[in-house]
Amino acid sequence: MADSEFSPKFAPFFSFAGIASAMIFGSLGAAYGTAKSGIGIAGVGTFRPDLIMKSLIPVVMSGIIAVYGLVISVLIAGDLDPPPNKYMSLYTGFMHLAAGLSVGLAGVAAGYTIGIVGDAGVRAYMQQSRVYVGMILILIFGEVLGLYGLIVGLILNSKSSG
């Protein structure tokens, strides 16, 4: 099957756009979360170096956001093949774009939350240790935003690969 109305030459463009947006936006969110919570951890660390290990949790969570982007990028890239082997439909291309964008932009939302909560949370934890459980819970709920994006991305991707 060569080019047709349903599988034009430019269809893979949208798949590549999906891969790029998942990775770029996901890393953007993870970078913001790491940097903003890192500022808070540096502030806490100068006064209470013993709390650094427990304060690093927002950084680990930001890392997970980037892993989500990586996972969906690898999945989409696994579906692709150059034209003589595979003529991709435009429908599949748009679906890959939707999967990439949902993971990437949900990752931005989750990273933004983790950054702000991580910064304020570790500073509060320095003065009141009971804040810790609440901080972890808020961070988990923020992180779940990125997980929802990944779930939608996985469902979309499973539809395209059949």
Binding site: P49, V60, V74, L75, N157
Partner: protein, 110 residues
Amino acid sequence: MASRRSAEKTPPKEVAAPSSSGKKVSDSDVTPAVPTNVIMKLAFFSVAMIFVPIGMYFVTVNVGGTSATVGGIVAAIMANVVLVAYIFVAWKDDQAEREAEQKQKEKKAQ
């Protein structure tokens, strides 16, 4: 973390750690700022976070022979398993430190 600097380095007095060797402040402190076991823990979790999720994805897809979607789900779950393990280790570490502090206080009281 038992990575307390000596009391002279911590600026505000109300949060300064009550170190038992407070009298010998002038002696040079040769213990490393961050103990080795802490660095090992952090290095372990860094490596785990980089390699475990993506490694498990390729293991499930290439060795397990399942679909890529299942591999993606497994990768996401593994990333969260590493996170939970980190939270557990940090919590455990804090508990051990508090018990050690309690014991020191009891010794001083006697």
